[in-house]
């Protein structure tokens, strides 16, 4: 058995780490830890220090292990680093052994010492900070729920002392957080004080890892991507939503609904300028979006992989009938049960080629909550300009975790572009209207909305082959004519889509990293680590499919003379690489994969190790996992 105070001189000789470490909280889900952990991360933010937080949670409501990993980095390394954590707050007996093992050598374990640790749980190379949190709560509170809830607040108070956080600021944060629920402020501050004072009395504070106030946040905000998408849809003018709950996309709709409730009530009548309907399944969810898109409203739905599978038939219809709508796919790991609360980028091919027959869909790949906002708003323009579904490819990490991101911004002079829609007056001027006549030679035809004109512009919209006047036909020539026009339209789409983000010097670096979405988060750290090894890198971030010409050029230029292009993605089968190879006719040997698919956000450590291993012993065409 060990006692509560085990900081020995040799172990506390840990090198001093200021504003550059990882804290991992191990909790049981359903115990109210999320809001306390969130408060901790936000306090770091308010101290002006860059921070990111990953919630690693089970597909369960109560009783299973859950972790919250906070990265504090004044170097602005906001992706996951990989490896062990400098400080672990172990509040879950179920996962205690694993949590002890994840503490870095010389690091700290803050644990509930109300029950002593067995000797088998003692690692000599780490520091144990035992605090009898359960006993404190038992003494302080009579209500069982409070005894549970305040445990979380107490350890945050202790961390404030241990890490030398600004305690006044933390208390102010509590006041902000419970605005409107003032009754809760005093007990929460009291619990913070309990922890703070206990730590100051029993431990040597601060530890060798600690935080110091900085001014490194600038205009950035701490928010999740689903909030960005939901709010972007409000700004983009979405009015109709059909949806079906599925983790991790549910909060896209919940955020959209709550912002609409605030911002979309008609001031004159007090009525809603939106309609959201929770339907029976994902088939109906996309059906609603398609029906509304056909009728001229901006409409969307949000789902994840299994929902996309169900929507595939309708995606084919929308592609072929050329109906604008937006689909948000917050990707997660694999099929229906197993790891639905873990992240992946594994629906790339399923979405790019969604549906039966020859179909290609337009994809957007945001990498931050701020870009989620921009792309979400922009997607409604793109969908109407192109008259086709636009799929926003987010993922669980982006959608549900808080990220430090540029503040949301909107240009008031920017007007919605509804694309080629004919009004009654324009129809009067048109000599002959044909829904599928390619007047502008860009594959994008003029459409009409139901109810527009008494005599002109009506047509029977159908998922079978049609001629240029929307008339039923089974003639091969008409079918081919239409399919070729759709191909032309797909390439016209490139002009409407965001360009890739390229960073390169005049002299091309020997290593190029190609990535998209959340795989971009650890890139800055990976680049610096490769540079330390003497390896310069150029980078390209893909933002949209169909691919811009620059992507092909970049890959060509970086695969000459023994240079190497790595495609970094979070799936097993190198889906983005496959799409690049297939669409750009690139020699597969020009692209080397870096593939992370363990369900957790990709780390800089993994990227660097994989790149170095590939350089040391190239395994062309072998997928490295």
């Amino acid at each position: 058995m060990t006692d509560n105070l085990t900081i020995s001189d040799d172990k506390s000789s840990t090198e001093l780490l200021i504003n550059e470490f990882v804290v991992r909280f191990a909790n049981t889900n359903g115990t109210g830890s999320a809001s306390a952990n969130n408060m901790f991360a936000k306090a770091i933010l308010r101290m002006g220090i860059p921070v990111s937080a990953k919630n690693i949670f089970p597909s369960n409501i109560q009783g299973m292990p859950t972790w919250y990993e906070v990265r504090i980095s004044q170097k602005n390394y906001l992706g996951r680093r990989g490896g062990k954590a400098e400080l672990v707050v172990a509040m879950n007996a179920q996962s205690l052994s694993d949590d002890i093992n994840i503490v870095k050598e010389g690091g700290y374990l803050l644990y509930d010492s109300s029950r002593a640790l067995p000797d088998s749980q003692i690692r000599s190379e780490i520091n144990y900070l035992g605090m009898p949190i359960s006993n404190i709560c038992l003494k302080e509170y009579s209500d069982p729920r409070q005894r549970q809830l305040f445990k979380n607040v107490i350890y945050v108070g202790a961390l404030a002392a241990l890490l030398s956080m600004d305690f006044t600021l933390l208390k102010a944060l509590v006041r902000d957080q419970f605005k409107g629920k003032e009754k809760l402020i005093t007990p929460n501050i009291y619990a913070l004080e309990l922890g703070y004072q206990y730590a100051n009395k029993h431990f040597i504070c601060p530890l060798a890892i600690k935080v110091e106030s900085r001014d490194l946040i600038n205009n950035r905000i701490l928010v999740d991507g689903n909030t960005g998408v939901g709010l972007g849809a409000v700004y983009g003018g979405a009015t109709v939503v059909g949806w079906y709950p599925i983790t991790p996309s549910t909060s896209v709709i919940e955020k959209f609904a709550s912002y609409c409730h605030r911002l979309r009530i008609d001031p004159a009548s007090g009525k809603k300028n939106y309609a959201i309907v929770q339907v029976e399944d994902e088939l109906a969810a996309i059906g609603v979006a398609i029906g509304a898109g056909w009728n001229g409203a901006r409409a969307f739905t949000a789902t994840s992989g299994p929902g996309v599978s169900l929507m595939a038939e309708f995606l084919g219809l929308a592609y072929f009938t050329e109906i604008p709508m937006v689909l948000v796919n917050v990707q997660r790991s694999g099929p229906s049960t197993g790891m639905p609360t873990r992240t992946q980028q594994s629906d790339i091919l399923a979405c790019a080629y969604a549906s039966h027959g020859d179909t290609k869909q337009v994809l957007l790949f945001p990498d931050s909550p701020s870009e989620c906002f921009d792309f979400s708003a922009q997607a409604f323009d793109i969908a109407e300009q192109l008259q086709t579904p636009v799929i926003i490819m987010s993922d669980l990490d982006l959608g549900m975790n808080d990220h430090l991101t540029e503040e949301f911004s909107w240009q008031d002079d920017k007007r919605y572009d509804k694309g080629k829609v004919l009004t009654a007056e324009q129809l009067d001027e048109v000599e002959v209207f044909g829904r599928y006549i390619d007047v502008d030679d860009d594959g994008i035809c003029y459409r009409t909305l139901p109810g527009t004109h008494p005599d002109k512009g009506a047509f029977f919209n159908r998922g079978t082959s049609r001629n240029r006047f929307a008339g039923y036909t089974e003639k091969s020539a008409d079918y081919v004519d239409n399919m070729e026009r759709l191909t032309k339209k797909f390439y016209s789409a490139i002009h409407f889509l965001p360009k890739p983000e390229i960073q390169q010097g005049k002299k091309k670096a020997p290593i190029a990293l190609v990535y998209f979405g959340t795989s971009s988060h650890p890139i800055a750290e990976a680049i610096d680590q490769l540079q330390e090894q003497g390896l310069a890198t150029d980078t390209l971030r893909i933002k949209a499919f169909p691919f811009h010409l620059q992507i092909e050029q970049f890959i060509d230029e970086h695969s000459l003379n023994n240079k190497k292009v790595f495609v970094i993605e979070q799936n097993r089968d190198a889906q983005m690489k496959s799409l690049l190879v297939n669409e750009l006719q690139i020699d597969p040997n020009k692209l080397t994969s870096v593939l992370n698919f363990d369900g957790l956000p990709i780390t800089s450590g993994f990227i660097v190790q994989t790149v170095l291993a590939q350089l040391a012993s190239p395994q062309l065409n072998t997928k490295v996992g």
Binding site: L222, V223, T239, V240, K271, A284, I290, N295, G451, F460
Partner: protein
Amino acid sequence: MSFIKSTFRHPRLPVNDLGLTYRDYEGALSTLCAGCGHDSLTAAIIQACHELSIEPHKVAKMSGIGCSSKAPNYFLNKAHGFNSVHGRMPSVATGANLANQELLYLAMSGDGDSASIGFGQFAHVVRRQLNMVYMVANNGVYGLTKGQLAATADRGVKNKGGDVSLFNDIDLCVTALQLGASFVARSFSGDKKKLVPLIKAAISHKGFAFIDIISPCVTFNNHAGSTRSYDYVHDHITTGAVADFVPVKTEITSDIDSGECEDVCLHDGSIMRIQKLDENYASTNASQAIMDIERHKQDGKILTGLFYLEPTASDFHEINDTNDMPLNQLDQDALCPGSRVLTSINESFR
């Protein structure tokens, strides 16, 4: 068989309040089989819309897949139509209606489309109380795939190929009544006189209006032994009440004698005049209607007519409290909160 539609018009065709003749309500030439019940049904829709002076372009024709779902192409050429996905018309109609509540949504579906692949979507669009007219052309077989039994086929009947319907049948009227449809009726495509008033009333009704129309398939389900053949339906049809439709602002003239009837005022001010033939009949009692349907079925009869009518029903938009201005007509100023609001939203994430 004709393959070109005649453009000949009688010079003195009657015109309606909009100055339109029934020909202004027609569609493309039908490609259904000669004698198909669905063609009588589309003729009834054309007559109903013409007589009600519906603006043709203010109608949205919705359908799924199947012979029934091809039918919207054969009426109201001036209206947009959406021939969607098998069994999924209800969700598309929902989205369309949410986007613009001012159009009249006339939906055509079939027994396969609504009672099998789309049974879930059918159930939920009823629950949603979408303001639409949902018509099922019910012939008990899959016509377009050549005669397989549908879920509405009576248990024990044989199709043309000799396959027996092994499982219990689904009565879509009973489903609609259970799930709260505010207008439920059954009719027969071979009896236009009774069908047209029901379609008119369904159009005038606000809320979800469902009409199950027995519409025989002359090619695959008109044989002896079928319970959806013209002969069988003629011989076994019965009704609990005769209903006639009296439009808004017209003098009440009806074939039904006013002495023994009940007048129900519909949402738009028109009147449904109902004459009881069965003493149990009550147009406001859904559970009674379900019992009546089941009782007649046990007696080997097909009960038709108006089963249920809730004239003051609400619809989705009323429940949702949607702005009266159709959502697809709101401009950016009404929809986009602007940059100033965004500044305060950003503050909540610091």
